[in-house]
């Protein structure tokens, strides 16, 4: 029997961020990680720390995302100080580039609405025409009619971030157990135990941070977590000299010089492979946006599965049947990593989620589907 203050199921960006937050606050945390057979959204992530366009119609989500983006700089600096690993986080602002007047009009209306919904948190943004966009990013092509810009947007390297979180977790006395697929959970209020390979891990707190695995795990502790996979495909190019000074929603250049092209969304079940049609569509739009990409070499493509709730929002909840059991899941594990480490971990310790996270409760799923 190994006693802990908290068991975290899931060793990706979400689970490890919460576990790190717990360990930093002096709590004994153990991470149970399924292994490489898991779908591992954290390994396939695009890496944006993105604010604009998050939370349309849901001000609580806009605020939570914005808060995480504000926290990211300190979060990244702290991880680097503790582990020596740089997350590659940058916050130069970001743009969503529009190729038609219709796209730009839609964008303009969306940003105006987000501004309204921000209330006193004052969401600042700009709608740029072609010339103004070209001043920010000279590489755009003539087909770019304009863009929306906010200074809140940025990006990080998801792999370095994950590695830093793992290293920091261990430094703070946390434990990481690989190849630990959780099949059974012994649950009682504020009393949980899980046995893996003959070792029983016990704790008064349980955090489900296992991405798409949360659906089945949640059922074991009275949590309804209706997440489904949404596939995203990504194109990766050769490394080139700095040419994109800030990320766009679809295309960004990494610190190392690689250009990543992404932003596809498909319901493809559990199939996490790329398709020629989507790669073609991505490449076509990328070349229209940045004509220089025409002769930049693609070195690989990949696909990964987003962890998506029916309404696209995160799911944060404490079980009513088994108090002490929490679920923490979202499709923005990079953007929200700072909030999960710095805030969500504290709520787990407190044993209560604050009112500002009530909008992300599983109660929103407690309605009957229309026939």
């Amino acid at each position: 029997m190994a006693d802990f203050d908290a068991i975290v199921v899931g060793g990706g960006l979400v689970g490890t961020a919460v576990a790190y937050g717990l360990a930093r606050r002096g709590r004994k945390a153990v991470v149970l990680d399924e292994g490489d057979i898991a779908h591992r959204a954290s390994r396939g992530n695009f890496g944006l720390v993105w604010v604009q366009s998050k939370g349309f119609g849901v001000p609580e989500y806009q605020r939570w995302t914005r808060r995480s983006s504000e926290d990211w700089g300190a979060f990244s600096a702290q991880l680097q100080k503790e582990t020596g690993i740089a997350s590659g986080h940058e916050r130069p602002g970001g743009v969503t580039l529009c190729l038609t007047e219709e796209e730009l009009d839609k964008r303009r209306r969306m940003m105006a609405q987000l501004h309204l919904e921000a209330g006193e948190t004052n969401f600042e943004y700009e709608i740029l025409d072609h010339a103004q966009t070209k001043k920010l990013i000279p590489a755009i092509g003539p087909q770019v009619v304009g863009a929306s810009y906010t200074r809140y947007d940025g990006a990080a390297n998801p792999l370095y971030t994950l590695r830093a979180l793992h290293a920091a977790l261990l430094q703070h006395g946390g434990r990481y157990v690989p190849n630990a697929r959780v099949e059974h959970i012994n649950a009682a209020p504020n009393q949980f135990s899980i046995t893996i390979n003959g070792t029983t891990y016990a704790a008064p707190r349980l955090v489900l941070g296992a991405g798409l695995g949360n659906k089945a795990l949640g059922e074991k502790v009275g949590l309804n977590v209706p997440v489904r996979p949404v596939r995203g495909q990504i194109i990766v190019t050769e490394r080139v000299a700095p040419v994109l000074p800030m990320p766009t929603l679809m295309i960004r250049q990494t610190v190392e010089g690689t250009i990543m092209i992404g932003e596809s969304r498909e319901d493809a079940g559990w199939i996490d492979t790329t398709t020629p049609e989507i790669v073609h569509t991505l490449a076509e739009r990328a070349v229209k946006t940045f004509p220089f990409l025409r002769d930049v070499r693609i070195v690989r493509t990949w696909a990964a599965l987003r962890v998506m709730a029916p309404d696209g929002l995160p799911i944060y909840e404490q079980s009513r049947d088994f108090p002490g059991a929490f679920v923490c899941t979202c499709h923005s594990g990079v953007t929200l990593a700072a909030a999960h480490a710095l805030h969500y971990a504290q709520y787990v310790i407190d044993g209560a989620l604050p009112p500002e996270l009530a909008r992300f409760s599983t109660r929103r799923f407690d309605v009957q589907a229309a026939a």
Partner: protein
């Protein structure tokens, strides 16, 4: 540093390695042609300008990046030499003109 295999055909293809004319057997890759004619680094890395040279010679490691006929960042181990091919070292990141 390297020796030719005993059964190497006697024909030769003329290529330019770093602007120097050299002759290599047909079927050789650009990376092999470079290795035959230098025992120094054949590129510097994109992130930290570290010296590197071809390593896996089978398309996996990307250590053999070179500029071939004016196109940068090519995997030299996957490109077969042809008459008059120009092969140059890759220095750091590829530059982009926009």
């Amino acid at each position: 540093m390297f020796k030719l295999l005993p059964d190497t055909p006697s024909e030769r293809v003329t290529v330019l390695v770093d602007d120097v004319t050299v002759q290599v057997p047909p079927g050789y890759t650009a990376a092999a042609a470079m290795l035959m004619n230098t025992d120094e680094a054949t590129r510097t890395t994109a992130t930290s300008n570290q010296p590197r040279a071809p390593y896996c010679m089978m398309g996996v490691c990307f250590e053999c990046l070179m500029e071939i006929n004016g196109v940068p960042n090519q995997q030299g181990c996957l490109v077969i030499v042809s008459e008059g091919m120009r092969i140059n070292r890759q220095q750091g990141k590829r530059e982009i003109n926009v």
